[in-house]
Amino acid sequence: MALRRLIYPMTWRLPIVVWQAAFFVVPLGFMVVMSFWAVRNYRMQPDFILDNWAKMLGRGYFWDAYWLTVIRAAAASAIASLVAFPASYALAYKVSPAARRWAIFFLIIPFFTSYLVRTYAWQVILAEQGVINAGLGFIGIGPFTMLNSGFGAMVGYLTLTLPLVVILQTFSLASVDRNLIEAAWNLGCSRFRAIFLVIIPSAKVGLILGAVFCFILSFGDFVSPYYLGGSKPPTLSILIIDTTKSGQQWPRAAVVAVTMIATLLAVAFAAVGAAYRKPKP
């Protein structure tokens, strides 16, 4: 009787548990385990050694890549948040709800266009003889070198993340109680100060969420740093690909991956902490 009663709920509850256990938790767990395996004669062997960790973490180029990735992702997150904010503000408060819905719809479109194709388009647009430099040439400036640089990579990161950041910010700004803002105006707060004193504190969770998603996406992205940033110096994701694809050194790639996940978890927890922290009395 009791068992029969479990059939119905378990039919719905179990599929995701089974699937994500077998193909998400186990692979990630296996990767962690693999980071302690040995590679002998170009073959992986189950083992428990710290060599991979020592070799990766003991090298200067790993840490160069680590900090480059962290700084770039943090910069992308800050720039995307700042650039997106005025747009989100306009979408949340200055346009009609119908226009807002359309804008959101158009911001979703990029997620379904190939990021690779968009990156390639930027390669062509930003090239030495590309559209932008040709345009600037008409008014007599340039050409500028934009590809294979931090700037190029940043254009790529923003291509990837800006629509998402605008969407998340717009939703959080639009859900701020309008009475709160009007109350601030009514009490003599200027529109500009109200943004900092009322709107940003009220929409904090969404704003931080946008920044965190931007950080996560930029941190893990390999396409922008590779094809727009010039791949050298490498970021962590490029390091993973190079280590995996060229050298059979999967355990070392796993070390990089585990380090990345640890970093992302730390960032995510810090952000959640910041988002939900009560202001001190």
């Binding site: 719905w12 509850r13 699937w19 346009v95 804008a103 266009t113 800006l162």
Partner: protein, 257 residues
Amino acid sequence: MLARVYLAAIFAFVFAPIVASFVFSFNSDRFPTVPLGSFTFHWYETAFSKPGVWEAFRTSLLVSASAATLSTLIGFCTAYTDFRFGFRFKPAYLALALLPPTIPLVIMGLAMLAWLSNVGLSGTVTAVVISHTVLGAPFAMAVIRLRLSQMDPALEAAAWNLGASEWGAMRQVILPFCRPSVIAAFCLTAAVSFDEFAVAWFVSGLNKTVPVVILEILQGNVDPQINAIGTVVFLTSMALVVMAQVLVMRRTRGEAG
């Protein structure tokens, strides 16, 4: 006014590469710049004269249809569980269900490659389907859960009250209510799979999907074929997304009154 100019600039940045790749795909120059060269179908012809590209499209369609079916099934079960049941460890359950999209794709790729090689699946179409289902199920879950949150929770109990068993209520009430969102979830996860290149690149081996082919062309020299293939991929994905959007919108509006 200033707000509109700023918005226009943001949208220009977001859509510049999309529009550019569309325009360049019909432009005769190998290194396009302004002024543009002449109109041509050359890049489409070259790209689609290769058997590899057709093969990739077939693989992509197969993969995205299968992954979308599995994602939608699993996503539906999860969304319904979240809607209907409360139990211990539910936060952990939901975290497990929704976490995959937050893991960088390169890491997912490495982990899937390592694990699937270990069980002898690496390099197969199955491997890509499995990976894309892991990535797609949370999206399917989110879309269907959103629909269920618009449902009066009394509806299911009302069906029991009128004599429907739990399975009967599922078939007579929950499924009909969720149908548009189930189709939308299928379209969205199909589009996600159709565009995913990182994990597919790691695990697909010789069974390349379209994005993997694009990635490999990109690793070579500048080649406007990418624009041609990309435009076709874009149109396919957009068709799926618009279909999903229309289904979700129409139903929501129809019941607003």
